[in-house]
């Protein structure tokens, strides 16, 4: 089939994962035209990465995933080995900028755009060495001894009377992940923020190469610890699609139950931290108490406070008996009124609202322009949730049967993001209850057998937004390439916009209202 009358032919991906179509662009021009058509149809850029296919196909490959109304379109474009260059898509979707630069750092395929600054490469490896290439120069183990050279980064300078820069990071003042923020300010007012990331780049994608399915699952669960369930499910979905394996219904129910528990845990933690950043320590204490209770039940029922390694390709590695399911339901009933009471307190606290309202605004137009997904998009009024029905889109099981009501708020500020989180906790508690009560009986796991040369894409609505994992197997049935994609790729640039015209002391609050991942984008 075709989309938007563009000549690229698409095949639907088999399986029960979120709807995905695979297609091949015959030329860079075809890809560019298709990208434009997606943009015109209000679609978005979901992910972009490269792979070295020289041994199999004689060249490199660019992978671009688009979010369309009906699901995801995964377009690949073959690039010649001697000149792997493709048309710059950042002029259509600005979100492509950092992904394209990362694809160059990792695989050595380049866009023909103007911004060729490195993104993930600082000074740890030479500019003509590409970690994800497959040849003797790039074998595993090569590179351990490279000298770690200091590196400079070309920040955009802001001139004018009284303008100056405030550099922050990589190590931040709190207990948070490292990254660098360069503020250009006049007085207290922020004129510009530019982020520099890559500090947490630990070579995850290279570790996937040649790994088996189980080793890949352990690794994918450690890309971003706060989203371990979402990643594990996206990876499992990709493996299952590639292997044409269908996990049992009970496993799907348990996966959703875990991902919803992960969503609640993170929203609880962030709502507390938001209170704290606005000088209401009471909020932190209360929400941290609720979160701790929640995590303790995780430890009791799943054997791990964050449910790491519980979702595996083929199904789940745990099971809940009737008693455990009762405990889950009971906890939802206990938590709901507590959160509701705290919401009233937050809503009525003048000092808190003064800090939240009109701070860190993103408009719905900007959210669309930057291809935002998840909570950040919904807090601008963009009704996009992979768990919910929309025109032309059927959510994957078990969500299809649950009638998920996505939360939205069109104010776009910190208050909106807090409100969406409150609403999402309430909805997730309902979903968890329904999942627990109606959990199908039966097996919890099958063993998917790798299919040589096959590929798959998994998509999961995590608590931040859309988590994607694209992968392919090699001829021996080992993982040839795995690309995990965090929604923070798209949302980080939105933070650069959100702080404009706010004051520097509001930055921690704005940043926390998104709570984006560093590890998930640095890989």
């Amino acid at each position: 089939m075709q989309f938007y009358d563009e000549p690229i032919e698409f095949e639907p991906q088999p399986g029960v994962s979120a709807p995905v179509w695979h297609g091949r662009a015959a030329s860079g021009g075809q890809l560019w035209n298709f990208t434009t058509a997606v943009f015109r149809a209000d679609g978005r850029l979901a992910a972009l990465w490269g792979s070295d296919e020289r041994q199999r196909r004689g060249g490199f490959r660019l992978h671009v995933v688009f979010g369309l109304d009906m699901g995801h379109a995964w377009v690949s474009l073959d690039l010649p080995a001697d000149h792997p260059v493709y048309p710059d898509l950042a002029g259509i979707f600005p979100a492509a900028n950092r992904m394209q630069r990362a694809a160059y750092d990792m695989v050595g395929i380049a866009s023909d755009g103007p911004d060729q600054r490195p993104w993930l490469r600082h000074g740890a490896w030479p500019a003509d060495w590409y970690p994800l290439r497959h040849d003797t120069r790039h074998e595993a183990g090569v590179g351990v001894g490279f000298p770690n050279l200091p590196s400079d980064y070309d920040f955009v300078k802001v001139g004018g009377d009284g303008a100056h820069e405030i550099p922050v990071g990589p190590i931040h003042a709190g207990i948070i992940e490292p990254g660098h923020f360069r503020f250009s300010v006049v007085g207290e007012k922020v004129l510009r923020l530019e982020q520099r990331m890559g500090y947490l780049h630990k070579g995850v994608e290279k570790l996937f190469i040649g790994a088996d399915i189980a080793a890949g699952a352990r690794l994918v669960g450690r890309i971003s610890g706060d989203s371990t369930c979402a990643y594990a499910w996206a990876y499992a979905g990709a493996v299952e699609a590639a292997c044409s394996a269908t996990p049992p219904p009970r496993a799907l129910g348990l996966r959703a139950l875990m991902v919803e528990r992960e969503r609640v845990a993170n929203h609880l933690g962030d709502l507390g931290a938001l209170g704290n950043d606005a000088a209401l320590a009471f909020g932190l204490t209360q929400f941290m108490r609720l979160k701790e209770d929640w995590l303790r039940l995780n430890a009791r029922l799943f054997g791990h406070r964050f449910m790491m390694d519980c979702i595996v390709p083929g199904g789940v590695a745990i099971d809940l008996d009737a008693q455990a399911l009762d405990a889950v339901v009971e906890q939802c009933y206990a938590l709901a009124p507590e959160v509701k009471a705290l919401r009233t307190l937050y809503d009525e606290h003048a000092g808190l609202q003064d800090r939240f309202l009109t701070t860190g605004i993103i408009s719905a137009d900007l959210a669309r322009e930057l291809s935002l997904t998840g909570m950040a998009a919904r807090a601008t009024g963009v009704l996009l949730d992979g768990r919910a029905y929309r025109q032309g889109y059927t959510p994957p099981p078990p969500y299809a049967a649950l009638g998920v009501r996505p939360a939205t708020d069109d104010r776009g500020d910190v208050a909106a993001r807090a409100a969406v989180r409150f609403d999402e906790i309430a909805e997730s508690l309902r979903l968890i209850r329904e999942l627990a009560v109606a959990l199908p009986a039966g097996a919890t796991r099958i063993e998917p057998a790798p299919v040589a040369g096959a590929s798959g894409l998994g998509v999961v609505e995590g608590w931040r937004g859309e988590v994607l994992v694209g992968l392919s197997f090699d001829a021996a049935g080992k993982l040839a390439r795995v690309h995990p994609h965090d929604p923070s790729w798209q949302t980080w640039p939105a933070v650069e916009h959100a702080v404009l015209n706010d004051i520097v002391p509001d930055f921690p609050l704005i940043n926390k209202s998104f709570n984006l991942s560093y590890s998930g984008v640095d890989l």
Binding site: H122, P178, L207, M288, E292, A341, L342, L345
Partner: protein, 166 residues
């Protein structure tokens, strides 16, 4: 204000006794020792040198009312210059190697370094590579390791107390 106070009263004090395997008397002795060594309190600078953020979530939990580590005189500070201890997580990425060394050099002597989490202890699933220096001890001298992926808040608390005792 009144509903807020009511809720505080209703919540009461949740702080639990210090980590289980240590007898209460031992904890008392530890506290005395901490005070004797460090004056009134212990200050910690946390450094994420490559973590997946899982370890950070549990370090955050130390401040929740159940563990209430600040109530025991142990405080997380914003600058290594104010710190007695560096609590380091993650395999040390090459891109963080320099920043970690600077933080170490900025921490006044005598200082303690605790490596928290499997990654910090051994490199974990990430190991050593073109992008990762592996365990923390490969970059700065470590006094004590706390295994776990991530270590539970209880394990973290025991580790921190044990490090101070050395």
């Amino acid at each position: 204000m009144i509903p807020l106070l009511k809720r505080i009263l209703r919540t009461g004090i949740l702080t639990e006794p210090p980590p289980a395997p240590q007898p209460a008397a031992e904890i008392e002795r530890l506290h005395d020792e901490i005070l004797a060594i460090l004056g009134r309190a212990l200050t910690i600078r946390e450094v994420d040198a490559g973590s997946c953020n899982g370890c950070e979530l549990e370090i955050h939990a130390l401040n929740n009312p159940y563990y209430n580590i600040e109530g025991r005189g142990i405080k997380f500070v914003a600058s290594p210059r104010h710190a007695d201890m560096l609590l380091v997580t993650g395999p040390v990425t090459k891109n963080m190697e320099n920043a970690l060394r600077i933080a170490y050099d900025c921490t006044p002597d005598p200082k303690l370094v605790v490596a928290a989490g499997d990654c910090a202890c051994s490199g974990g699933v990430f190991g050593e590579s073109y992008a990762s220096c592996g365990r923390v001890d490969n970059v700065i001298a470590v006094d004590l390791t706390i295994p776990g992926c991530p270590p539970t808040p209880l394990a973290l608390m025991q580790g921190i107390l044990a490090a101070v005792r050395r």
